[in-house]
Structure formats: structure tokens, C-alpha cells
Amino acid sequence: MTQHKDHAALAAAFNKDEPRVDWHDQTLWWVRRKRDIAASKVPDWEALRETASGIKDNVLSNLSQYLARFEQESIANGVKVHWASDATEHNEIVYSILHRHGIEKMVKSKSMLTEECHLNEFLDEKGIEVVDTDLGERVVQLAGEPPSHIVLPCIHKKKEEIGEIFHQHLGTPKGNADPKFLTHAAREHLREKFLTRRAALTGINFAVAATGEFVVCTNEGNADMGAHLADVHIACMGIEKLIPERKHLGVFLRLLTRSATGQPITTYSSHFRRPRPGQEMHVVLVDNGRSAHLGRTDFRNSLKCIRCAACFNTCPVYRRSGGHSYHTAVAGPIGSILSPNFDMKKNGDLPFASTLCGSCSNVCPVKIDIHQQLYKWRQVIVQEGYAPLAKKAAMRTMNWVLSKPGVYHTAGKTGRWFMLNVPFTVNNGLNAWYRQREMPEPPGQSFGEWYKKNKHEQQG
């Protein structure tokens, strides 16, 4: 992996263009508001969240049984089931299926798992062309960028910029940024891909253990277009995507899109059970760190995530730092508690990219205690030795002063020690507080000194 800048540096770069930050913030806040309105129309919203959380608790506690059942039922339905322990195995399985059929071009609907595994890059190196068919994903793919949001992949792009990308890659007239026109152009462009590709890869939103079927949710119908026209349908899922029975879909489908975009339900919630005659259907079950994550008591329930991105849209930090500042496939608060599990050194900055305001935990439809886990990851990252040395030294000094009243009173005498060290202490030299904020004006005396003069003496 190449060395990358940390979240703070990438967010600072994003903040160089303040009007753009305002636009990004307001766009996503609008989605959060839509979510509020949609949720408020469900009379028992909070009970629904509690139910979903409970179902997922059950799934995580019995994951191996549900997986075995799902595999058994899928095979009985005529589906070929594959197991991948990590990203490399996943990519090789997908490649081997395509290779066996002599397929060099594939369409793919949205799958954050394949982003996590860097499947597109892997297949590209093997000479296989992947066309992302989700409109937002196609935009970022043409732009040569990763998605910045798991539900709204190109939310960081303005329509004029999309017009320019389409002009360059699809030959639309220069300067045309009319969303309706651009969508039509994309549809024409993608239709040709759908009709000519023999393989389609989709993600999986929910896999039903009892029946071996799976559900793919899209707003554009692109998963269906791909899967129904292709000879080979490959569906990839993380092993946590299971639900016990079909009836539980009634809970999750009500929550998913209300939380994600404020719609009552996704336009297409497509159920796949068995290949149509002459078609091959594959399901790839991927671990890639999930078992290890399941073993971390404090963090396991982040595997409940249904990838709605409500925590992104509500996060005041995400809205003002942009998805790319998280430098991972899954950004936002949920990404910040999932990613350290993959690589604590590379992603150790992410749990600190939060004020711990707690809004994420409140919008989460499966009630993941996201902000509590951010706090706990901070402890783990420091304990495992991934804290910068300067920060370690500063924290030790701070602790030494604050745990000794005598030292505290002497050091704090004029407020100067305090202003230079708390919380400005993590800033090595340059005063990051003062760059855009005035310092507090030190008072003539501390409260302790005032109390001693005015109260203590009175009481005698």
C-alpha cells in the first residue's frame, strides 16, 4: 500500500475551498433531513431499529450455523457457492469464473465489498474490463476516482463536473450539465454494455439463510439489467450479510432506504433464488477480516451494518471533510470503526476523525454504538503503539500535572501552562488553535483562588 496523508491533512485540503465545503455540507444535510421526514412517518421507528438490532445480534451469535444453512439451501437451488478468506481469494475466485468462460468484459452493479477488495484493479491487470453500472459509480469510474460515499458514490461531484466527464468520455456536448440529459446519455451508454456483456457481478444486501436466496437493492434497476441479460451472474457478499428468514426482510427493507435517502423503499428490491435455465449463478462468501472482527467483543456489533450511510449524512465531520479524506472503501463514521480492523497502522487516524458527538449512533438503523466504538478504538490504537511519540509525551506531562494538585496549582497560576498545554498539547509547536480562533483571555485569578479568598476565609 502506498503511504497516504492522514484524515486531518486530507480534510484540511478539502477545506481550502470553503464554498465547496458549504455545498457538500448542505447537500448531505438535505439527505439527513429527508431521512428524518421518512423516519417520522413510521409510527414505531425506534421499535423497528431495536428489532433490527436484535435480529442482527442473533445472526452474529449464530453466524456459522446460518452460513452453513445458507450454503446448503443455495446449492439445493442450483447456485454455486464459493468461500473466500480474504480479498485476494475473492478476486481470484471471480477471475477464475470469468476465465473459465473466456469472458473479458463484465458489468458490475454496486458492491462495496468489491471496492474493499479492489476487484476492479485486480481484474484490470488480468485484462478484464469492468463497467460499473450504477450511475454514480460509473461517473467516478470514468473520473478515475474511488466512490466518496457508499450510497451516493459521486456526491462530491457537481453536475457541471459530471457534464465535463461525460463530454470527455461519452461524447456529450461540452457545457451541457442538464441532469436529465446526462442521465439519458448514461442510459444509452450503459444499455449497450448490458446487451453485450456475458457476465454480471452484483452485490448482496440481504442473504436469507432459510431459503438460500438473496436480495439486491438498487434504485436504477442496474443489478437486474446486468443479471438478467448475462450468462453468468456472480454475487459477492461479506459473511455478515445474512438474515435468518425471509420475513425479516420486512424489518430491514423498511429501515434501509428510509435511513439512506429518505425513500420509503428502494425502487428495486430484487430477489434472486436460482439461475434461470442455461444461466450460471455464483455466490462468493467473503470473510476478509470479519471473523477477526467478530472476535473483538467491543467492536463486533459494527458487523450489523447494512450500509445505509445514514451515519455519513448526519456526521458533521464527514459533511465537512468529504469521503476521500477517509482514504478507505467505506468512509464516514462506520468506516472509521471498520477500517482499523483491516490495518491499524494505516487506518489508525480514522477513529480520531470525530468529535464523538454521538449523532451517528442515533441515526443507525441497527443501533450500532458507533461513537462508543470510536472512543474504544482510540484506546486500542494507543495501547498497540500507534500513537505519535509527541502525543504520548504530551499526554504523560498532562497526566502528571493533572493528577497532582500541588503541581496543578503552581503550573496553572496564571493560566499560561494551561493555555499552552491543554488541549493545545497535541499540536507540535504551531498553535493550531490560534490560526483561526482567538485564545481565551486569562482571568486575574482562578476559581480556586477566588474561592480561597471569598469563601474559605469567610467560613473561617
Partner: protein, 241 residues
């Protein structure tokens, strides 16, 4: 009722008037208030930075200073939440420590106040007080609205509470976040200030001085006339101007 007054370190050092207001308010309401002089900090700055394992000294000191009181009261939701969630052991402290607003509301159960503050005031919901201690309903939840802070402010003569576009968005202080993520922190603070200014606030108040310290830094840099005041100062105010 013997109340131990816990004045968080940054209030002690930088905003002593908030400590004074808290003390006077509690005494006015009939509490016997004692300030243990050897107190320092709850340990949150270290813990939120990932160094909770270093906070043993602060914890011991806190227990020594406060375990004998009937109640412990502090004018900070954030520090109180930290003690409630992270001071382990069977000291009983997490159950008897209260943030000032919740103490006035739930323990003293006050129905009226002798206070006057004839100004337009914007209420900033400090996250730890709101989402951690449930001082007010949270906009994310589909549940009945309430606000212990607004209820108290409504008892202050002359005070006009303004509305906001975003009723409970974080100000961006976040402890060491304010310097470690300086760009985002400042942008969040600027946006909060703009919301209050847009709706005509003369003062911004909150139950946490740390949020207000951050917002004050931004307001003063912009030469704004809008000022910050901790809720204890307003509830203890006799400003007839």
C-alpha cells in the same frame, strides 16, 4: 444536602466566573456547597485521546475529593458524562454526580428562578450533555421533544430564546479534535456561529464551556458583537439592562 462542587480544570483556570455563578446559584437554592480545593481534572482530555490508561491518578484524586458528598455537581455535561461512564469501581460516584442543569431539574426540581436576562439568546446543545446525559431530546430520534435547558431558560425574565436551522449540530470542539483536526473543527464552529447570528442571537449559551470557548474564539476573531455565556451565568443573572 451537602453538595460537592466540581469545577472542571479549564473552567477553574480560564472561566472562573462560571464557577462563581454555579456556586452562587446552588447556594441561592438552599444547597450547602463545598469546593474541595485539591481537585484538578476528570481525566477526559487524556481518555478521549486514547490514553484512558493514564487517568488512574485523576480518578484516585477525584474519588478522594468527592466520595463523601451526597451529590456532586459540575457546570459541564462533558466532564460529568466522562465520570459517569469511565470512573469504575464501587464508589457510588457515577450515580450521585450531576451536571448543573439536570441537578436543578431532576434533584432540586425547581419550578421558578429569580433571574433576569433581557437578551436574545441562542441555545447551543452541547453533545455530551444532550446525547450523553439526555438534557434534551435529540433530533435524530423519533421521540417526544423535551429540553431541560429550555425549561430553565424559560424561567429567566426578559430572555428571548431564538430558533436555529440546525437545533443540535456539534460545534466542532471535540477536545483534542479542535487542534488535531483544526480545519474541520473551525469550519464546524463557524457554521454554528453563523446559524446563531442569522437568527439574531446576542448571546450564545450552552451547558458546556468548552463548546463556548471554541465558539468565542471564532466570534472574537471575526470581531463579532455576539458573546458567549455559560447557562449558569444566565440562570444566576440579575441583568436588568
Amino acid at each position: 444536602m451537602r453538595v460537592g462542587l466540581f469545577i472542571p480544570c479549564y473552567i477553574d483556570q480560564l472561566y472562573p466566573q462560571v464557577g462563581v455563578a454555579t456556586l452562587q446559584l446552588l447556594e441561592k437554592l438552599g444547597c450547602e456547597v463545598v469546593y474541595p480545593p485539591d481537585q484538578t481534572c476528570c481525566g477526559q482530555p487524556m481518555a478521549n485521546s486514547g490514553f484512558e490508561h493514564l487517568t488512574g491518578g485523576c480518578n484516585e484524586l477525584f474519588i478522594k475529593n468527592f466520595e463523601d458528598f451526597d451529590y456532586i455537581v459540575a457546570p459541564s455535561g462533558s466532564c460529568v458524562l466522562h465520570i459517569k461512564e469511565h470512573l469504575h469501581g464501587d464508589t457510588g460516584i457515577p450515580k450521585k454526580i450531576f451536571e448543573l442543569v439536570e441537578f436543578l431539574t431532576d434533584i432540586l426540581k425547581i419550578e421558578h428562578l429569580e433571574a433576569t436576562f433581557p437578551h436574545k439568546v441562542g441555545l447551543h446543545q452541547s453533545c455530551h450533555g444532550q446525547r450523553g446525559l439526555h438534557l434534551a431530546q435529540m433530533s435524530e430520534l423519533m421521540a417526544a421533544p423535551f429540553s431541560k435547558l429550555e425549561r430553565l431558560l424559560s424561567m429567566v425574565r426578559g430572555l428571548e430564546l431564538i430558533g436555529l436551522d440546525r437545533v443540535d449540530e456539534c460545534c466542532g470542539f471535540g477536545g483534542t479534535f479542535c487542534v488535531a483536526e483544526e480545519a474541520v473543527s473551525v469550519k464546524m464552529g463557524k457554521d454554528r456561529c453563523a446559524d446563531h447570528i442569522k437568527h439574531g442571537a446576542e448571546f450564545i449559551t450552552a451547558s458546556d464551556m468548552s463548546c463556548l470557548m471554541h465558539l468565542e474564539g471564532i466570534l472574537r476573531r471575526a470581531n463579532s458583537n455576539v458573546r458567549v455565556k455559560h447557562i449558569a451565568e444566565i440562570l444566576n443573572s440579575n441583568d436588568t439592562a
